[in-house]
C-alpha cells in the first residue's frame, strides 16, 4: 500500500524532494515557443514586464572621492568612484545620480531621511523637531515607535503594475536591524501606511519555501489531484471573501480599510491559482530551476553574511524570472543600523562608527564599499539570468538609496542614488548625472513615470511636478 501511495506522485511529494536539496522549477517555465522570434517579448506581442526594485542600506555615503565621480556625463567620460568599483562589469547598467537634496539640506536625522527617500515624506510630523511632539506617542527620538506615514514608493508602484502575479510585492532583507528603537522603519522597508509594514524575509530557506508554495500550490490532502485541490482552494477563498465582507459591515473605518487590504490579498491568492489543469499562470520567459539554499539568516553567523546575501539575490532573481512579482524591495540594513561587519574585520557597529570622528571614516567607507559589492552581486545575478534574448537587469530598474548623505552630521545634502538597470530600454544607463540642489522627490517621480504610472506630482515634503528627463534614454 505504501508503495502504491508513493507512486501517486503529487505536488506535495515533489516539495519534499526539493527540501532535500533537489532543484525543481518554481513555476512552469514559458517555452521558447511562447516568445517572439527575437526573444524580446511574448509571442502575442506583449512586452516583457518591467520590474521595479529597491536596494536600501542604512547610514549614508561619503560624498567626495570615494563616492562622487569627478566628471558627469555618459559612457567613458566618467569613471566609477572607489566605493562603486565592484560594479565594473555593470557600469553600462548604472545611472548614478548625485547632488540631490532633502528639504533645506540641513541637519535632520535617520528617521526623517527614511521617511523622505522611501515615501516622499509626509505632511504631519518629522519636518522639524517640534513636529515630533505631534506624534500620538509624545516626545520621541527620530521615528522611534514611529513609522512611515505614507505608502512607500514600492507600494505605489505595486498598486499600479500588479496584475496576477502571486506576490504583489516581494520584501527581502539581509541584516536584522539592531540599535536604537526606530519603530517600524528599522526592521521594515515597505509600508502600505502608518504602522502597516510588510516585514521582509531574511532567511533564505524560508524565502525559498514561500516562493515554492506560491509556485506549486499547497495540496489539500495527500493524493488529491492538483486540479481538484485548486478547485477546493478557490471555493474556500470565495467563502472567505463572503465572510470578510460581512464582517466589514460591522467595523469602523480604520478596520474596514484593513479588511479591504485583507480581501485584496485573498483575491490575489485566488488569481494565482491555475484554472485549467497543467496550465499555470503566464510565467517569465525562462524560469530556472532553483536548489534549496543552504545559507542561513545573517544574524545566525555574521561572518557568513556574503553567502546569505548571495542566496537572497539568487532567490530574488528566480522570483522575477518566474514572473512571481513585479516589485521587490531589498533591505540590506535599516536606517541607523548598528550591525558590525566581522566579514571584513570591522568589529565596531556601523552607526556608532559614523559618529566616532574622522579617524573612523576609513572603516565606515570599508563597510559602504562592502555593501555596494553586495548590491553589485544582486545586479550581476539579475544580469546573469536570461529573459528571452536579454536578461532581467535589462528589464528592471533598481532604486539604490540610503536615508542620508554624509552620516557623521546627518547632512541632508548631496544624496547619492545608485540606479541599476535599463527599465526595458527606458533608461539609458552608463551615466553620471549631477546637479546640486535638485530633490530626491524629483527622481522618485521620474521613476514612477518610468514604471508607466500616470502621476504628475509627488511628495509631501519637497512636493514636485518636476522630473529628470536627463536620466532617460
Amino acid at each position: 500500500m505504501a508503495i502504491l501511495d508513493d507512486l501517486k506522485v503529487s505536488r506535495r511529494h515533489a516539495l519534499k524532494g526539493v527540501l532535500s536539496g533537489v532543484g525543481v522549477s518554481l513555476w512552469l517555465p514559458v517555452l521558447d515557443v511562447m516568445c517572439n522570434e527575437n526573444g524580446t517579448a511574448f509571442a502575442q506581442g506583449a512586452p516583457f514586464p518591467t520590474t521595479f526594485g529597491i536596494f536600501f542600506w542604512g547610514n549614508g555615503v561619503y560624498p567626495g572621492s570615494q563616492w562622487t565621480p569627478e566628471v558627469t556625463g555618459e559612457g567613458n567620460t566618467w569613471k566609477l568612484p572607489t566605493n562603486l568599483e565592484d560594479f565594473a562589469n555593470l557600469k553600462d547598467h548604472m545611472t548614478l545620480v548625485t547632488g540631490l537634496d532633502m528639504l533645506d539640506a540641513q541637519f535632520k536625522g535617520h528617521g526623517w531621511g527614511v521617511v523622505y527617500v522611501l515615501a516622499g515624506g509626509d505632511g504631519t510630523i518629522c519636518k522639524t523637531i517640534a513636529d515630533i511632539q505631534k506624534s500620538p506617542y509624545g516626545s520621541l527620538p527620530e521615528t522611534a515607535e514611529g513609522t512611515q506615514w505614507m505608502p512607500t514608493i514600492d507600494q505605489l508602484v505595486a498598486n499600479a503594475v500588479h496584475t496576477s502575479e502571486p506576490f504583489k510585492s516581494l520584501e527581502t532583507g539581509v541584516l536584522k536591524y539592531t540599535g536604537l528603537n526606530m519603530g517600524t522603519v528599522g526592521l521594515n522597508l515597505a509600508h502600505t501606511g502608518p504602522n502597516k509594514p510588510l516585514p521582509p524575509e531574511r532567511d533564505p530557506a524560508t524565502l525559498f519555501n514561500k516562493l515554492l508554495s506560491a509556485g506549486a500550490p499547497p495540496s489539500t490532502g495527500s493524493g488529491t489531484p492538483i486540479d481538484v485541490s485548486n478547485k477546493l482552494r478557490r471555493s474556500v477563498l470565495d467563502a472567505l471573501l463572503v465572510e470578510a465582507k460581512r464582517l466589514q459591515m460591522r467595523v469602523g473605518s480604520a478596520d474596514a480599510k484593513r479588511l479591504d487590504a485583507h480581501m485584496e490579498s485573498i483575491r490575489s491568492l485566488e488569481q494565482s491559482i491555475p484554472t485549467t489543469p497543467g496550465n499555470t499562470k503566464p510565467a517569465g520567459p525562462t524560469c530556472p530551476a532553483v536548489t534549496a539554499p543552504t545559507a542561513q539568516a545573517a544574524n545566525v553567523d555574521l561572518t557568513k553574511v556574503s553567502a546569505t546575501s548571495a542566496a537572497m539575490n539568487q532567490l530574488i532573481a528566480s522570483a522575477l524570472a518566474c514572473n512571481m512579482t513585479r516589485v521587490y524591495s531589498h533591505l540590506w540594513s535599516g536606517p541607523r543600523d548598528d550591525n558590525h561587519y566581522p566579514v571584513i574585520n570591522v568589529d565596531t557597529e556601523h552607526h556608532s562608527l559614523t559618529h566616532s570622528g574622522s579617524r573612523d571614516v576609513p572603516r565606515v567607507a570599508e563597510i559602504q564599499k562592502y555593501i555596494m559589492s553586495q548590491y553589485a552581486n544582486l545586479a550581476q545575478t539579475l544580469k546573469d539570468t536570461p529573459m528571452g534574448a536579454t536578461n532581467l537587469l535589462e528589464n528592471t530598474i533598481i532604486y539604490g538609496i540610503s536615508e542620508l548623505s554624509e552620516p557623521g552630521n546627518h547632512i541632508m545634502k548631496d544624496y547619492h542614488v545608485v540606479l541599476m538597470g535599463h527599465a526595458g530600454g527606458k533608461i539609458k544607463g552608463n551615466r553620471h548625472y549631477r546637479k546640486a540642489g535638485r530633490k530626491v522627490t524629483e527622481l522618485m517621480l521620474t521613476l514612477q513615470q518610468v514604471m508607466g504610472m500616470n502621476v504628475t506630482s509627488f511628495g509631501t515634503w519637497d512636493k514636485t511636478s518636476t522630473t529628470m528627463p536627463e536620466i532617460l534614454a
Binding site: 510588510l198 499547497p218 495540496s219 460591522r250 484593513r258 558590525h340 566616532s356 570622528g357
Partner: protein, 520 residues
C-alpha cells in the same frame, strides 16, 4: 493611529467593533486548541512589534498576500494531517457521515467547531455557507473526509477566526466604552492563557455573567489557576524587558569568542526562569523584578555569576553581595542585549533604563549639534571617561545627564554581561546619583529603582498596552493610576492583582475617544 490617538476635534465615540489579529503565538495555540496536538509544523505570518508589543502591532497590521498565503498553507497542512487519519477525524467530528455529507451530525460539527473557532455562535447564514463549501468539496473530491477537511481549513482562514472581534458600547455610568460578554470571554482567555475561550466561558458570556465585575472574577478563576497564565505573564515581562533581544545580538568574535548560540540560549532561559519563579512566584512581591538577589544558572552561566555549576540544567542561586548584581538589570542576558558588539555603551544602557523602566525618552540631539566624537587623546581611558569627555559641553550634557549616569551604574558589566573590576587597566567607576540618591553599581541602582515613584506606573502602563492591544491615550492615565492602587492593595503580588485587573474598567472598557475624520 487606529485608536484615534491623535486626539483632535470630534464627538466622542459611542462604541463599535474593532479587530485584533491573532499574534503568531495566539494563532498556533488556537489551531491546536481546535484540532488537538499536531506533528506538522505550522508557520504563521510574522508579527510586528508596535509601541513595544506584538499585541499592539496586531491591532494595526494588514494581512498581505504573503500572510494570506501563509494562513492558507498552514490551515491546509493542519487539516491534511487530521483528516488523513480516519479515527482521528471521526473523533473530532463525532460521527462518520455519508459521502454527500447530508447527515445532521455534519451540521452539528460546523456549529460546535465553528463556535470554538469564531468564539461565538455561528449565524444561520454562516452555517449554510460552510455546509455548502463542505458538500461541494465532498462532491468534487469524492470523499467525506476531503469535504470536511476543506471546510475546516476554511474556518481556520476565516476573518472571524483570524481576528479577535471586540465590540463595545458607551456606558453612561462612567463615560467609557464597555465590552460585551463575548468580547470579554475572548479578552480574558487570550490575555490570561494565550488561547481561545472554552465552551464553558462562552456559555458564561452569553448568560450575562461577564457583564459584572463579580461574574468576571468567577469566570477568570479557572484561567488564573491554570499553568497557561504563568507562561503568558512570563512572556509579558520578557517582552517588556526586551529579553529576546539577546538571541539576536552578535558580539565581536575576536573579543568574545565564547558568546555563541548556546550561551545566548542559556541567558534567555535564565531570564525566563527568573521571571516565572521569582517575580511571578506565588506571594512574591513583583518589585523583586527590579532588585531580587535570586538568579538561575546552568553550566554556561555559573562562571558569570560566581556560582557553582549544577550537575545538569538550571539551579536557583542567591547572589552574594560581591556579585554586584540584582534584579532584571543584573541579568547577563539583559546586559548583553543592551551593549554594543565590542564595548558597553552607557548612553544606550541609560536610554534603555529611562525608556523602559521610567517611561521617559529624551529628545534627539537638536539641529546643528555636531554629534561626531572628538579624537581620543593618546592615553588609556575607561568607556565612562571617554563618554564624559565627549558630552561635557552644556548642549550635550543637558540631555546626556538624564540617562548616562544610569548607564554608568552598569559599567561593572562588560558587553556580554560579565563582571569586571577594571577596564583598560583602570578601575571602574560605577557611582552616580538619580533623583538625589547616590549609588555605586547596579545592585544599588536596582534598590533605588524599586523605590522610584515612576517605576511601577511605567510597568503598569506597559501591561495596559499589552493587555489592551493599543498604545495608551491621554484618557488612560486614570485607569493606570487605579491599577497602581490595586497592585499596592494586593501587597504587590502580581497573581493577586490579575483578578482585580480583569474585573476593572481598565480591562473591561476602552476610553471614548473623539472620532476624527481622515485619520489613518
Amino acid at each position: 493611529m487606529g485608536s484615534g490617538g491623535n486626539g483632535g476635534i470630534g464627538v466622542p465615540s459611542q462604541g463599535g467593533t474593532t479587530l485584533r489579529l491573532l499574534t503568531g503565538a495566539e494563532y498556533l495555540t488556537s489551531v491546536k486548541a481546535l484540532l488537538g496536538p499536531l506533528t506538522t509544523q505550522l508557520v504563521p505570518p510574522t508579527d510586528a512589534s508596535v509601541a513595544g508589543f506584538v499585541s499592539v502591532g496586531a491591532g494595526l497590521l494588514n494581512v498581505t498576500s504573503t500572510a494570506q498565503a501563509a494562513y492558507e498553507a498552514a490551515s491546509l497542512a493542519a487539516t491534511a494531517e487530521v483528516f488523513g487519519d480516519a479515527p482521528r477525524w471521526q473523533k473530532l467530528v463525532g460521527c462518520t457521515p455519508k459521502d454527500d455529507l447530508g447527515d445532521a451530525c455534519v451540521t452539528d460539527f460546523i456549529k460546535t467547531f465553528g463556535r470554538s473557532a469564531f468564539r461565538r455562535d455561528l449565524t444561520d447564514d454562516e452555517v449554510s455557507l460552510w455546509l455548502g463549501v463542505a458538500k461541494n468539496a465532498a462532491m468534487v473530491a469524492g470523499t467525506a473526509a476531503q469535504g470536511l477537511a476543506t471546510m475546516t481549513s476554511g474556518l481556520l482562514q476565516s476573518t472571524n477566526f483570524l481576528y479577535r472581534v471586540e465590540t463595545n458600547k458607551l456606558d453612561g455610568s462612567n463615560g467609557r466604552l464597555k465590552y460585551d460578554g463575548l468580547s470579554m470571554a475572548t479578552r480574558l482567555s487570550y490575555t490570561l492563557s494565550g488561547g481561545p475561550p472554552s465552551a464553558a466561558l462562552l456559555t458564561a458570556a452569553t448568560s450575562g455573567q461577564l457583564d459584572t465585575a463579580d461574574g468576571l472574577r468567577t469566570a477568570a478563576a479557572p484561567l488564573l489557576a491554570s499553568s497557561g497564565v504563568g507562561d503568558r505573564m512570563t512572556a509579558f515581562f520578557s517582552e517588556y524587558a526586551q529579553a529576546e533581544e539577546v538571541s539576536l545580538v552578535v558580539k565581536s568574535q575576536t573579543l568574545f569568542p565564547t558568546f555563541n548560540a548556546a550561551l545566548k540560549s542559556s541567558m534567555l532561559q535564565s531570564i525566563q526562569l527568573f521571571l516565572r519563579n521569582v517575580v511571578l512566584a506565588p506571594n512574591a512581591d513583583v518589585r523583586s523584578f527590579y532588585d531580587s538577589d535570586q538568579a538561575f544558572v546552568d553550566a554556561n552561566l555559573a562562571p558569570f555569576y560566581g556560582a557553582q555549576a549544577p550537575a545538569s540544567g538550571f539551579a536557583q542561586v542567591t547572589l552574594p553581595p560581591t556579585s554586584g548584581r540584582a534584579g532584571i538589570l543584573g541579568q547577563a542576558g539583559v546586559l548583553a542585549a543592551q551593549s554594543q558588539s565590542d564595548r558597553t555603551s552607557p548612553s544606550r544602557r541609560g536610554l534603555f533604563i529611562t525608556g523602559t523602566f521610567l517611561c521617559t525618552t529624551p529628545m534627539p540631539p537638536p539641529p546643528g549639534v555636531d554629534t561626531s566624537v572628538p579624537p581620543v587623546v593618546n592615553m588609556p581611558l575607561t568607556t565612562r571617561q571617554q563618554l564624559e569627555a565627549t558630552v561635557k559641553g552644556a548642549k550635550c550634557a543637558e540631555c546626556h545627564s538624564m540617562f548616562d549616569p544610569l548607564g554608568f551604574a552598569l559599567e561593572h558589566f562588560d558587553p556580554i554581561g560579565r563582571y569586571r573590576d577594571t577596564e583598560n587597566g583602570l578601575a571602574i567607576d560605577a557611582t552616580g546619583t538619580v533623583n538625589g540618591l547616590s549609588f555605586d553599581g547596579e545592585a544599588q541602582l536596582a534598590a533605588i529603582l524599586r523605590q522610584d515613584a515612576r517605576v511601577l506606573p511605567c510597568l503598569l502602563r506597559n501591561f495596559y498596552r499589552h493587555a489592551n492591544g493599543r498604545a495608551e491615550d491621554d484618557k488612560d492615565p486614570a485607569q493606570i493610576d487605579g491599577m497602581g492602587k490595586s497592585l499596592a492593595a494586593r501587597s504587590f503580588v502580581w497573581s493577586s492583582f490579575l483578578p482585580d485587573f480583569v474585573a476593572s474598567d481598565a480591562f473591561r472598557s476602552a476610553p471614548a475617544l473623539p472620532i476624527t475624520t481622515g485619520s489613518p
